[in-house]
Structure formats: C-alpha cells, structure tokens
Symmetry: C2
C-alpha cells in the first residue's frame, strides 16, 4: 500500500461506513475475487477510482428576491449532479445582493432558511455542497459565512470570512465590509472521500498564507466563493487563483455571482478552475452558467513528482505557521 | 517627517556620507535656502526625488567564451547607465553556459576574474550592479552565486542559490543542479538610497516564503536572475513574477540569458519587470536586449493604501517566519 493510499484509507473507511455498499461487497464487485478485508489490491483499485472526481461551479444570477435565488440554486445543483458532479460550489452571497446596505436586511441565523435549502439539495443530489456564502447573524453580529453540507445533508463546516474586504481605489471602487461585518477567526477545511478541501471567501484569496497552510495540511483543492468587481476582477481574479494553484500545487476553484450591470456592486463573474500546473482548465464568462472540471489527484501527484517544491522547501530557513485560534 | 522618510533617513545619511556632495550643499542647491542640518523640507524634497529610479535588466547573450561574456556585460552595463539606470541586473550564469557539466569548468573563487569586472563596471558607471550569478568555487564546493556591487565598486552582497533546481518533467526537461552544486543557507537583502532589495536566483522564485520574508523585512524590489527553460518558461516564468509582485505589493525583476537554440540548455528569455499591481511593465523577447523600468515607490505606497493587505494580514492566525541561519 503506497503512501497515498495510507493517507486516504481513513477517509475511505469513513465513506464506506456511511455508504449503503459494504467494503466486502464492493471488493467482490470491483475485483471479481473473494471478499477479503483490507485487501491491498482492492484498496488500490478504489484509490485509483477515487483519484478523479467531477467538480461543478455554479455562477448564479443573484437577484434581490431570496426565494428566487434559493430555488435557482437548488435547480442548478440538481443539474450539476446530473452531470456527475460530486462536489458543487456556489458563489459568495448567493442568496442575496452583495453590499453593506444589504447584509443586515438578508441576514439569517444558521441553521435557517437558506442553509435548510442547501442541506436538502446536498442530500437529494448526494453531493458535497459548498454553499457559497450568506450574510449570517449571530449574537448581534453579522458575518459573511460559507456552509458546507455532505451527501447526507449534514452541515460539515462553517467558514466565516477571515479577511474583510476593505479597499479604496480612488475613482474605481471603495468598499468597507468592516462597516457592517465581523471577521471569522478560524481556518476551515473539510474531508471528502476524494481529497481534503480548504475554504476561503473572496478577499481571503489575497492572503497567500491561508492557501499555504491549507496545502501544508494536505488540502488538494481550495475553493473560494468570491465576488470580485470590475476593477479588481480583470486585474487580479485569475492571477490570484493561478498563483495559489501553482505555488501550492493544488486545484483552485472560484465561484462568482453572474454579472448584473444594474446592481450596486457589479461582479466580474468568470468563475474559474485552475489545475496544479497553474493552468485555467474551466472558466465561465459573465453570464449565469455551470462550469465543470474533472479533478485528477493522480495528475496532482505527478506534478509534485516532476517539480518537487513540496519536499524541496527550506524548512531550516523559513516556515509558514498557524497561530492559535484568532482572538479578535 | 512622515514614516516613509523616517525609514529612508538612515539610508540617505549613509548615501551622503559616501557622496562627495555634502548634505548642506545639496540643501542649499535644492531648496534655495540657508544651509540647515536636518531641514525637514530638504528631507522631504530628497525623499520625493529618491522615490523614483530607473532599473535596467540586461538579457545577455551568453557564450562558451567567458572573456566575451564579461566584456559584453561590461558594455551593456555602460549602455544601461547611459540611459539613467541606477540599478542594473544581469542574468543567472551570465559568465558561462548553464549546465551541470559546465559549472566546475567555469567556476571561480570570489573575488575572482568575473567579480573584478563587475566591481569595475559598478564603479565606472556609478550603479548598483546585481551581477546575475556565476558558478562559485569555495572550499571544494560549487555554488550558484549572485554578487552585488555598490557604486563605489565594493561587494555589498553575495547570495548563494538557496533552492537547487532539481526537476524531472518526463519527455520535457530533467535537470539536477544538486548533482554538482551545494545550496546557500541565507536570505540576502541589500540597501540602496532608493529602497531595500531582496535577491533570489531562478528556482528560488518558486518558493513564495522567500519573497514573503523579503517584503516583510521592507524590501520593495525583488530581483531574480534566472534561466527558465522552454517548458517551465512559457508555463510559469511570468506567472511566478506576477504572483510575487501582487501578493507582496512589491516590484519584481527577472533577468534571463538570451535564448540560444544551439545550447544544451535553452533559456526562455523574456526578462521582465512587474509592478506592485501585478502588471508587466517591461519585457524582453528571446534575443539579447536591455530593458528598462522606472521604479516608483510612491506608486507602491499608493497601491498599499488602496488594497491594504500589508496591514490586514491576520497575524493572530498565521505567520511567515524566518528560522535561524540554515544548517545544511
């Protein structure tokens, strides 16, 4: 059993535990051999099968009507699952317009209306659903929060945006999330049977340390629901994703709302998936769309063999370290 | 006196100490006022003047004849200085062909023939000369070493490539620097009257931590003499530079040898300068060329005001830290 399988075994085990199909049954079917617990050939076959999966990114057209946003999201998750997607990603603020004046108006507690829809969509379609983000209300504070649901409909992660979007490019774009939102204080990763996934929201992507820590903790896919604008979008959206992917040799996926020229905040769109070689392998335009990418973890391993920066880092000279849980 | 001037003052002081022009004399001439030591208006005027400088990157055609390489470099440094350049950058392995079979053949001690030429060129042209790199022999070991000379011809820095270039992309490129070279064990920064500069060599650029530490230690320009090849060049050369520049909001400059299709190792060329917004502001093709970029530290400060990631980092959650001097 190689190192890769060693790493994936606990995840596979937990997958089978929750699956209706037993390990031994799968063993027979897959290999046409007698049932045999912990069979090496079986694990190897499954590991190969698990090394590829389809990711869908939903570039949702977001309106001011929450119910419409939720039902459209529900429909597109179903469409994505119908195309064989195992992990589905929604955009930042997928249930409401993005803007400091809207956050409190649309904010919900978690669990609440929007996360209930996400939970049902994940379960109905048997997918890992990264629910973009919604404005969350908790204890009198507002957060920009991403929830992730497993194929059983359970909430498996909540990520509150760590880095609030406060920028001021004169004559172009001024936005101060911190006027209304509070920041999260934790890194956020979740396991799937395929790979571990790191989560950030939009502006979080500008901070390389987050991606570095996720990849050092074995995430092979980073997802960033985001809503870059018409200034920073063309300048930095793709560059940041390609940088995170290449520097850490991971897959990176972003989901933006579709562009709405009539909105107070106009999103750049261009939801994207980048591979560990730094190449864009799937990209939306400005309109509503579902884009797909086949994530290939064997390819990722190959890249890390070819240009082995993950083992060549000079740990004797520098380190990226995670501090204790944030205290803000 | 603003913070910027506070930071630059010691550097300016040391500049004036080494200069034939006295502070008071300059004060009179620049401001048409009575000589007055530590005059705030004077410092302010000088600081503004110092916030821009011209950088030249020499994409040298390197041959197997060391003497030719040195004299061509000498001529192009003169040309660059004639265009007002204050900092001049030469490529990796500028004095000899790049390749494991050549390193020992062309290796020199430092000081030696090649660094003597660099020292004279820096002094003759009154520039900071980042002397690309040369194969260095020291104590029976070989290094890929970058030397930097000040306008007085003094050696002010030696950087030995920290990350050796060991990659294997099947059917494309296999190269193992570590078969013949030993790695350096130190980060390398130097001061100029304009800004602090961080130095890496080629493959060092793939390791984001180095650039992060340089920028956290106030470098505003990073220089990477490098020689990417025909596989990694088109894929990663520009992306890595833009990533380093954008993530750290610094200027980044690379100098490659010109392309020689007959060489055993064919360099990609495309020496480049990127600004802190992540834009390519100057770029060579494949041929020998000198390219120029006006480095504008006020623009850098503006970018850092507009998208203030340098102050928004979550130091309570993560850190990039420098370990003790390497022990390898």
């Amino acid at each position: 059993m190689d190192v890769l399988q060693e790493v994936r075994k606990p995840v596979l085990d937990s997958y089978f535990e929750r699956s209706a199909v037993t390990r031994n049954h799968m063993s027979c079917a897959a290999l046409d051999c007698e049932p045999k617990q912990n069979c090496v050939a079986f694990m190897s076959a499954i590991s190969r099968a698990m090394s590829k999966f389809r990711l869908a990114v939903i570039q949702l057209q977001v309106t001011g009507v929450k119910r419409d946003n939720l039902s459209r999201a529900q429909r597109l998750v179903r469409e994505a699952a119908g195309q064989g997607s195992k992990v589905v990603l929604l955009p930042e603020c997928f249930n409401s317009p993005y803007g400091t004046s809207f956050f409190s108006m649309y904010a919900e507690r978690i669990p609440g209306e929007s996360t209930q829809v996400l939970s049902e969509a994940a379960k109905e379609n048997q997918v890992y659903l990264v629910g973009g983000s919604i404005p969350e209300e908790d204890g009198g504070k507002l957060y920009n929060s991403c929830t992730v649901f497993g194929p059983d409909g359970d909430l498996i992660l909540k990520h509150r945006k760590i880095h609030l979007f406060d920028i001021d490019v004169p004559g172009k774009i001024r936005f101060q999330e911190s006027e209304t939102l509070s920041p999260g204080n934790s890194l956020s990763m979740f396991e799937t049977p395929f790979c571990k996934v790191g989560v950030g929201i939009c502006y979080d992507m500008r901070f390389a340390e987050l991606a570095q820590l996720y990849s050092r903790q074995d995430c092979q896919l980073l997802v960033y629901p985001g809503a870059f604008n018409m200034t920073t979008g063309p300048a930095h959206w793709e560059l940041l994703q390609r940088a995170r992917a290449l520097d850490n040799q991971v897959y990176v996926a972003t989901a933006s709302p579709a562009r709405d020229e009539t909105a107070s905040y106009v999103a750049w769109g261009h939801s994207t998936v980048v591979n560990p070689w730094g190449e864009v392998i799937s990209k939306a335009g400005a309109e509503e769309a579902v884009i797909y990418a086949d994530i290939d973890l064997q390819y990722l391993d190959d890249i890390r063999q070819q240009i082995p920066i993950t083992t060549q880092r000079r740990n004797d000279l520098y380190a990226v370290t995670q501090a204790q849980e944030g205290s803000r």
